[in-house]
Amino acid sequence: MKLSVPYLGMLHLAYARVLRNLGVDVILPPKPTEKTLNLGTKYSPEFACLPFKLTLGNMIEALDLGANAIFMPGGTGPCRFGYYDAVQDQILKSLGYRFTMGSAENPDCLSDMLHLMKRIAGFRTKGALFKLFYFILLRLSCLDYALGRYFSAKPREAISNEADRVFRESIQLIDSSLSFPGLLRARLKVSSLFRKIALKPGVNPLRIGIIGELFMTVEPSANTGIDMRLARMGIEVWKSVWLSDWLNDRFRFKPFTRNQLKLSARYAYPYLRFPAGGESMESVGKTVLFAKRGVDGIIHIFPFTCMPELVAQTILAKVQRDLDIPILTLIFDEHTTQGGVDTRVEAFIDLLERRRRSRSSPMAAPPERG
């Protein structure tokens, strides 16, 4: 069995090495490029969302490399994501590819997921699988942790590119640890590495929250790597969805006690009382949370025709008015270019900087409310 999973942020770093160590033949196609997207777009329905097109392109490239099993988590809605597996299966089969599409029919249901991975990894007991799954999730959480530290260190680093170097080193450390104690040691090492980065004193960087649909905010090939580029521009990036937390929230079994979905739901309540699928709840809730914690602006990212995020966008218009927080909405499709995104993001940053200056100067301070 030659297994391939479409790219999703740092997911491949979390599972590939572990599964290979177990003897599973993992096929990692080249990182998604414009060619991948063009391939995906060619065979996708016109109004399918960008993640669908990218993952389809990914699958085609993997199948061309000889993969014969593809894992795509399924679902039962209400977001379209849950139906990806069925439609992609149909499209690929009609293109003449022969393979098995493994999908957990229902991502809420851990037993389905375990059964599937058991089949793929060839485990005998459920316990071993359980441990494997937990381990991959822990690795993912460590990777997310390193990325979070990077986002906070990057705008403050004294020596240029110090944070990037440490981040790369951290990724390698985590990637090479294949046991629970090893992973714990790696995580402690990552923490101390980031602590050792020399920081510029008295820096108060602009803070931008990136909210929106999971795939688009996590996968660099889908969002033109906007989070990293913002960080390199000296901006502190806060993200609303982290892949490890997202997975944790969606499973019935919760390895981590923190629940970002519940947290978001609490903050979103005045605006959105029921999750409209996808990451709509996180988008609204985290915007309120970020605004309360003093973020300067929000960038809302989602693919064209995304249903849940359109609900969120409609509601965010009111949040924006109520909390006086600038929101830039970036809608991505296969025609989006980095130049177009940059122009808008740079203008947005200018606006935020001006806003901050006018707030800090006593002349333009907003009048106290009696």
């Binding site: 329905p45 016109e46 109004f47 399918a48 969302c49 399924g74 039962t76 809605g77 209400p78 977001c79 379209r80 849950g82 139906y83 597996d85 069925a86 439609v87 299966d89 149909q90 499209i91 009609s94 029919e105 809420d108 605006y271 959105l272 009382r273 029921f274 999750p275 409209a276 699928g277 996808g278 709509s280 064209f304 025709t305 995304c306 249903m307 849940p308 359109l310 609900v311 969120a312 966008q313 409609t314 509601i315 218009a317 009111k318 949040v319 809608i331």
Partner: protein, 335 residues
């Protein structure tokens, strides 16, 4: 004085109105319905809505804006799911919140949810019980009102399944005291065109630009998604590798496959919104299976607020011409 409850003539009105109206009237409310959709309404809705939202939601906003000054309460329920294996569109899940954050000022909304799935379950009887407590303390009265509404609703759906048009089915089911009787238009021998779409597209003559009338004028009989029973839809859906998990999506895919297998149906027309997320997938499934099943021609029509009458006619005529030519060819081959 009776409380005035406003119901926007949009979205789920086209499916659940008999139940809503009967229930509210039985409890002594005055039901105020917005006027049929007009261009001005859609424009007003579109001017406040996010640009990528679909046309029916924009029209719905317009209906609410035209209604909000005339009523004490607005009926905007949150339909999450009406069955255990399917959701509504995500836009219905957030509909009351979208309305509340887009249109201001608003009268209070009746925005309880109906949900048969997972988190925060609330069945339909529970929903009506809860709405009933707003108007009456007599729980027996609320229950009777719901029962009566349910009968009307069943009558209405039964008529629709007999291919009676929406307006007629609505009028008949609401006016007759007992079981309403009615018959579909057209005679049995006429060739049929299958219209596949959501209730609010099939039945709003403004949104669909009077499509069914235009088809009937060309001598065809129109059968719609709504003329199928749940069982018929289910039979088709169970053929798929994975069940479609949207209620209306299921109906659409099921009816398209049903029409494709019906030799009397000469063509299938699919009505969808520009940028409809569900339909991008539903249509992919439908076109794949219809292609495999046989030769029924399909025409996808995508609607938005810039859609013109002329464009529709051109495409419709071309499609019907194609069907006629095909029929002639088939006859030649046979004899």
């Amino acid at each position: 004085m009776d409380l005035k409850v406003g119901i926007p003539r949009g979205l789920l009105y086209y499916r659940y109105f008999p139940l809503w109206q009967t229930f509210l009237q039985e409890l002594g409310c005055e039901v105020v319905l917005s006027t049929p959709t007009t261009k001005e309404m859609v424009n007003r809705g579109a001017s406040v809505a996010v640009s990528d939202l679909c046309l029916p939601v924009k029209a719905y906003f317009g209906h609410i804006m035209s209604l909000r000054d005339q009523v004490d309460l607005l009926f905007v329920p949150r339909y999450v799911s009406v069955e255990e294996d399917a959701y509504m569109c995500p836009k219905f899940l957030g509909l009351p919140d979208m309305v509340a954050s887009t249109i201001e000022p608003l009268p209070p909304l009746i925005d309880y949810l109906i949900n048969y799935k997972g988190w925060k379950k609330m069945t339909e009887p529970q929903f009506y019980e809860k709405v009933g407590t707003l108007f009456s303390r007599d729980s027996g009265k609320v229950k009777r009102a719901y029962q009566k509404g349910l009968e009307k609703q069943k009558d209405f759906r039964r008529l629709q399944q007999k291919a009676v048009s929406f307006e007629e089915a609505l009028a008949l089911s609401l006016s007759s005291p007992g079981r309403a009787k009615g018959q579909g238009k057209g005679n049995a021998g006429q060739p049929k065109i299958g219209l596949v779409g959501r209730p609010y597209y099939l039945n709003d003559p403004f949104l669909n630009k009077g499509l069914s009338g235009k088809i009937e004028a060309k001598g065809y009989r129109v059968v719609t998604t709504e003329s199928l029973t749940e069982l018929e839809v289910d039979r088709q859906i169970s053929k798929l590798s994975k069940r479609v998990y949207w209620s209306f999506g299921k109906e659409m895919v099921g009816s398209a496959l049903h029409f494709a297998g019906d030799p009397e149906v000469k063509g299938i027309i699919n009505l969808a919104s520009f940028g409809c997320g569900q339909d991008s997938f539903n249509w992919e499934i439908v076109s794949h299976h219809v292609k495999m099943m046989g030769k029924t021609p399909v025409l996808p029509l995508i609607f938005d607020e810039h859609w013109s009458d002329g464009g529709l006619l051109t495409r419709l005529e071309a499609f019907l011409d194609l069907i006629t030519r095909r029929e002639r060819q088939n006859r030649k081959e046979k004899g």
